[in-house]
Symmetry: C2
Subunit: 312 residues, 2 copies
C-alpha cells in the first residue's frame, strides 16, 4: 500500500460540515468562513530529517523548504497565503543555533510573501527533526482552480523545468504564487496542481479527480539541466525524460486551459514572466489513462510518479 492508497483508505468516511467547500483530496482544503468575496485555504505539510532533508542540510534551507512547500500548495489554488503555525518536533540532540537558523530561513520567506507566523509549538521526537507547517490563505471565490476541473480539449501546461530537483532545487525553490494568481486573473484556467510527486504522478491526480485522460508529448517535456547532469552519472541514473516525469519535488505549476487559449497564453506569459519557462506539454483526452506520444507513436505511460513511501 502506498501513501495515496493509505490516505484514501483513512479518509473515506471523514466528518464534514456545510462550510467545507472542498475537503481532503486537493492541494488545500477550501472553506467558506463568512467572507463574501473570498474562500479560505487550509493546508498542512511536514518535512522530516532523513527523508525531505539530511541531518547536515543547512538549516536555513530546511526552514525555507518547510514553509515553501505549503506556499506551493496555496499557489496551486491561486491563493494568497496569510498565516502559518510551525510545529517543531525536536531530536534529543538539537542545538539552539541550528533552530534559530532554521527559523531565519522560514521567516525570510514568510516576510517576502506577507505571511505572519502566528505561533506553533515544540515537542520532542527523540531520533530526528520534524517540522510541520499549517498554513491559511485565501482565494477569490470562483477563481480557485481545483484538480477536478480538467476538461477534454484542454491544453496542459507546466511552468519551469522538471527533474533532478534533489540536486538542490528541492531546498531552494520559489513557490509560484504570483504566477498562479496572474494565470487565473488573465485566462480561464481549469485544473491546477503543484508538482510535488512528479509530472506523471501529479497529472494522474488531476486525471483521476477530473475523470479524464491525457496525452503528453515526450519531446515537449521541459527537462532541467540538473536532470540531464544526473543522467550522465552512471548506469543506475534515470534517463532525463524519466527523471522529468517522475523525480518529484519540482514545485512548479501544472494546469489546464481550453486549447483555443493556448497561443494567447504563451504570448502573454513571455513579457509577464520572461525568466520562467512556460510549456504546453500535451492535452486532456476524454478517454481515461495517461499516454506519451513520441516519434514511435502514442503508448501508455508506465512510469509512476514519485511515491513518498511504500509498505511491503
Amino acid at each position: 500500500m502506498n501513501e495515496f492508497e493509505l490516505i484514501e483508505r483513512l479518509t473515506r468516511r471523514l466528518p464534514r460540515n456545510p462550510s467545507t467547500l472542498v475537503g481532503a483530496g486537493d492541494d488545500c482544503a477550501v472553506l467558506d468562513l463568512g467572507d463574501p468575496e473570498h474562500v479560505v485555504l487550509f493546508k498542512t505539510d511536514a518535512v522530516v530529517e532523513g527523508i525531505h532533508f539530511e541531518k547536515d542540510t543547512e538549516p536555513a534551507r530546511v526552514g525555507h523548504k518547510a514553509l515553501a512547500r505549503c506556499l506551493s500548495d496555496i499557489a496551486a489554488m491561486a491563493g494568497t497565503p496569510g498565516h502559518a503555525l510551525v510545529t517543531l518536533a525536536l531530536p534529543s540532540d538539537f542545538r539552539l543555533p541550528h533552530l534559530e537558523a532554521l527559523y531565519a530561513g522560514m521567516t525570510a520567506l514568510a516576510a517576502q510573501h506577507g505571511v505572519a507566523i502566528v505561533g506553533g509549538e515544540t515537542t520532542a521526537n527523540p531520533e530526528r527533526l520534524l517540522i510541520s507547517v499549517a498554513m491559511l490563505g485565501r482565494a477569490r471565490r470562483n477563481q480557485c482552480p481545483l484538480r477536478s476541473a480538467a476538461k477534454p480539449g484542454d491544453a496542459i501546461f507546466v511552468t519551469g523545468e522538471l527533474g533532478g530537483s534533489r540536486a538542490g532545487k528541492h531546498l531552494d525553490f520559489e513557490p509560484r504564487l504570483a504566477e498562479a494568481r496572474w494565470l487565473v486573473g488573465h485566462f480561464p484556467i481549469h485544473a491546477m496542481i503543484d508538482l510535488s510527486d512528479g509530472l506523471a504522478g501529479d497529472l494522474r491526480h488531476v486525471l483521476k479527480a477530473s475523470s479524464v485522460g491525457a496525452e503528453v508529448r515526450a519531446g515537449s517535456i521541459p527537462i532541467s539541466r540538473a536532470a540531464r547532469l544526473a543522467a550522465r552519472k552512471g548506469s543506475r541514473a534515470k534517463l532525463p525524460l524519466a527523471a522529468a516525469l517522475t523525480d518529484g519535488e519540482d514545485y512548479e505549476l501544472l494546469f489546464t486551459v481550453p486549447a483555443p487559449q493556448a497561443v494567447a497564453l504563451l504570448d502573454a506569459w513571455q513579457p509577464a514572466y520572461p525568466d520562467l519557462k512556460l510549456t504546453c506539454v500535451g492535452k486532456i483526452t476524454p478517454a481515461a489513462g495517461l499516454k506519451v506520444r513520441d516519434a514511435h507513436g502514442s503508448r501508455p505511460l508506465n512510469l509512476d510518479g514519485y511515491v513518498h513511501f511504500q509498505k511491503p
Copy 2:
C-alpha cells in the same frame, strides 16, 4: 532551556500582518479573516509516541487525545471548532488496522463537535508515531478571553478536579467547549486558559501575560481522586496537592472573573452543569508572583508546572 524559554527565543521576531489580532503566546492565534461578526481561531498540536501516549495505548484513545487537545485550546478562547487537518508521521512498522482505529477515535470526537476533517497527509517518521492536528475555529468578536486579560481583584476559577491525569484522563478527557461558551455568554470573563501544564504552570502563563500576580488557597484546590490514589503508591509519589498543582494534562478551564460576580457565577453554574465541579481557587493580585495561602499563612509557590522537556 525549557520548552517555554525555547519558544520565546524562537518567536521573538516573527513576521506579522494586519489581519493577525493575536499571534504566538495564547491558546490559539486570533485572526480577522473578513467575517464581520467573528474572529478565526487557528491552532496546531502534536502528540508523540512514548511522550504523550505509549506504543500499546489503545489507538482510538490516541486519536481522541490528538484531536481533543486542539479542541481544548479552542475552548480556552470560548470558540466553536470548525475544521481540522491531520498529519500522521508513521513509524516503519505501522499497521493499517491500528491507524484505522486511531482515525475512528478522532472522527467520533470530531463528529460530536461538528468538526470537519478536511484533509491532511501522511509522511514517514521511522522510529515512532507522531500525530499533528491543525484546527480552525471561530469566536464572536469581543467574546474571546485572552491570557492577558486578568485584572487585580478577579476571582480565579477552575472547572473539574486536578492532578493524576496520567492514570487515564489524559487520554479520555472531554474538551470544555460548551462550558466555555456558556461562561462568556453569561459572565464578564476576563482571562481564560486550558490547563495543560498544571494549575501552577498555566496560572503563571496568565499572570505573566497579564502583568499581575495571584494568591491561591491550598484548601480550595479541587484534587482529583486519581491524584489522591497516586499519592498512596509509595514514597516517590507527589503529595496530592502538589499533584493537583503540577501534574499537567488536566484539560480543564482556568479563568478569571471580577470577584463581585463570583457568587452569582457559582449559583448559575450548578444547574447548568450539575456534573462538573466549578471551584474558586484564589484571586488575582496587583503584586507579581504566585503565592499559596494555607493554615500557616501565605508564601511563594516554588513548585513548577509540568514542563514538557528540559535540555541540560
